[in-house]
Symmetry: C2
Subunit: 338 residues, 2 copies
């Protein structure tokens, strides 16, 4: 009965069901004949991915993993989309400060808002994580969850990355889209597990990555249930709820998914705990990091970077068996065609 | 490509895929010819459920809902399994106090532990929600998440309900199992949304209800990522994290699922906010409550009950269009055969 349920989620028509059976049979032959990762160059990383997926999906293999346990988690910023020179969500927050400034006259004299409104980004940066958090909290609260998502969607659908002249929401990595699709067609359930705000990512997760909203794990603001003008809504409060970063990532994973992943993909030291938690499970596991080495096609940054610092990972990767993906060497193409 | 991905999650074999196509075609015809809810008596509730599912799944219907948005949420205690005369998780916590007492000599002189160890349940009850929470926190922390789940599973697999002489984990409602299966075969994704502990429910959610672990939303303890004897684990802290009850339920739903459900099923005033949130969305919705009216086959309790109080719901159901399911009248059978 289980297969029946799974296969009939999308429709309840008999003839359509039969048609799709035959159609998927056709697609299978095509897909398995072709390389599922055409944007990945041959090399250690591509080989490791292929061998891992083959080993855990082949029935009778000593590394076989039941479909229900095939959980793959991906960091977002710098792993699935561009995070340089600044996290996209922070740029959105900066824009919101300018938009909301008329309603907040106090910002003219309060840091870091004052500096931001004056374009003094050095002072904004000097305010550190505390200052940046204040900006995020102030600009992401006092509205319903639905209103916030509408604002985020609007901004993402209209704002371009200066280097690539494409929408921020289109600055996503083609090799990762292929990997996500390959994993799903191999029975994996794919999740985003990011330090970014859960509600900032959800409006784009399905369209960008084929990852449904309920498979996005992230940081959150405390929200409150209210009846507003007769409508039951959730209102975002000016208070951080959970920070899904570093040692918070395994906690967020366990809270949302309730299983230890078998594959995890990150790009910075902030993803180390998530990778350790993944690799610490019994049976075969795979842990990967994107190393941004491509100043021409994207960016080159690692140990000294202010975003996506990749330092301890580089020191420990070999000893711990983590795969470091060299963007310049391993990715034949970076972005999908527009 | 979407259909292809969806339909090939479970396997990557061509011939198997073709076989299943034909097999599911066969199952479809069988399943649609028969009554999907044989344990429900004909009446308002059964009719409302049937009409709702037909309306939202029929393409072209004005009430049609896309499969991705077909989210159905179910409370746990009293909605999917027995909660009387005491919430199952509390009984587990009481047992744990007795087991752990030798390691906690201070409990001999501290309330409500002292009363519990002396079997003075009146004093335990008088300690109220605060006292009960202290018991839960003390007995559910200081161990890894995996250890806790093992304890809960062991207890659930060995402890019987005194009235029904069946395991607590088997005191589940057959009509609800049918409804869950019917919803899933109609393209719905089913979730548990309970005030109970998320880790207490997850070990049984798949086996009991066909609901995978990642589709369980509940209250939680704060947990912490640690490396223990070289193993990366999550350790449960003696601190309540989130209480997924009353106005917390819509918050938990939004946090975990990120969508407003279209069907919600509860059994007490604690589920009102969840139902209101569900019914508040645009388009067709269904909100239901189990009314425990069957003293013979299960229990009869409502307005004055110390567990699962159903009072305001009964006053407001008609005006708000909520369906009150009368267990005695609407359910032909209560429990599945053992």
């Amino acid at each position: 009965m289980n297969l029946y349920k799974r296969r009939n989620k999308a429709n309840s028509r008999f003839s359509l069901s039969a048609f799709i059976g035959i159609f998927s049979l056709f697609l299978c032959s095509v897909s398995y004949a072709a390389d599922p990762l055409p944007s990945w160059n041959d090399g250690t990383a591509k080989t490791a991915i292929g061998e891992f997926i083959a080993a855990v999906t082949e029935e009778g293999s000593k590394d076989y993993i039941e479909p229900a346990e095939r959980i793959a988690v991906f960091d977002h910023d710098g792993t699935l989309w561009v995070e340089y020179p600044m996290y996209t969500q922070l740029l959105f927050a900066f824009e919101r400060v300018k938009e909301l400034a008329p309603q907040h006259p106090e910002w003219k004299t309060t840091q870091p808002f004052k500096a931001l409104l004056e374009g003094d980004m050095k002072t904004v940066g000097a305010s550190g994580m505390k200052g940046l958090m204040e900006i995020v909290v102030a600009t992401h609260s006092g509205m319903t969850a639905a209103e916030f998502e509408m604002e985020a969607s609007r901004w993402l659908a209209t704002t371009k990355h200066p280097k690539f002249d494409r929408l921020y929401s289109d600055c996503i990595y083609l090799p990762q889209l292929e990997l996500l699709a390959y994993l799903r067609s191999s029975g994996f359930k794919t999740f985003i597990v990011s330090g970014g705000g859960i509600q900032f990512m959800r409006p784009i997760s399905e369209k960008n990555y084929g990852i449904p909203r309920e498979q996005v794990v992230g940081s959150n603001a405390v929200s409150e249930f209210q009846i507003k003008d007769g409508n039951p809504v959730l209102v975002r409060q000016p208070k951080i709820g959970f920070v899904n970063d570093k040692a918070g990532k395994p906690v967020g994973i366990y809270e949302h998914i309730g299983r230890r992943p078998v594959l995890a993909f990150g790009n910075s030291d902030s993803d180390m705990e998530m990778i350790e938690f993944t690799m610490g499970g019994e049976g075969r596991r795979l842990g990967l990091f994107v190393h941004h080495t491509d100043a021409d096609r994207e960016y080159a940054y690692d140990r000294e970077s202010h975003v996506g610092t990749l330092d301890k990972v580089l020191d420990q990767a070999d000893a711990k068996g983590w795969i470091v993906v060299d963007m310049k060497r391993d990715w034949q193409t970076v972005f999908p065609p527009e």
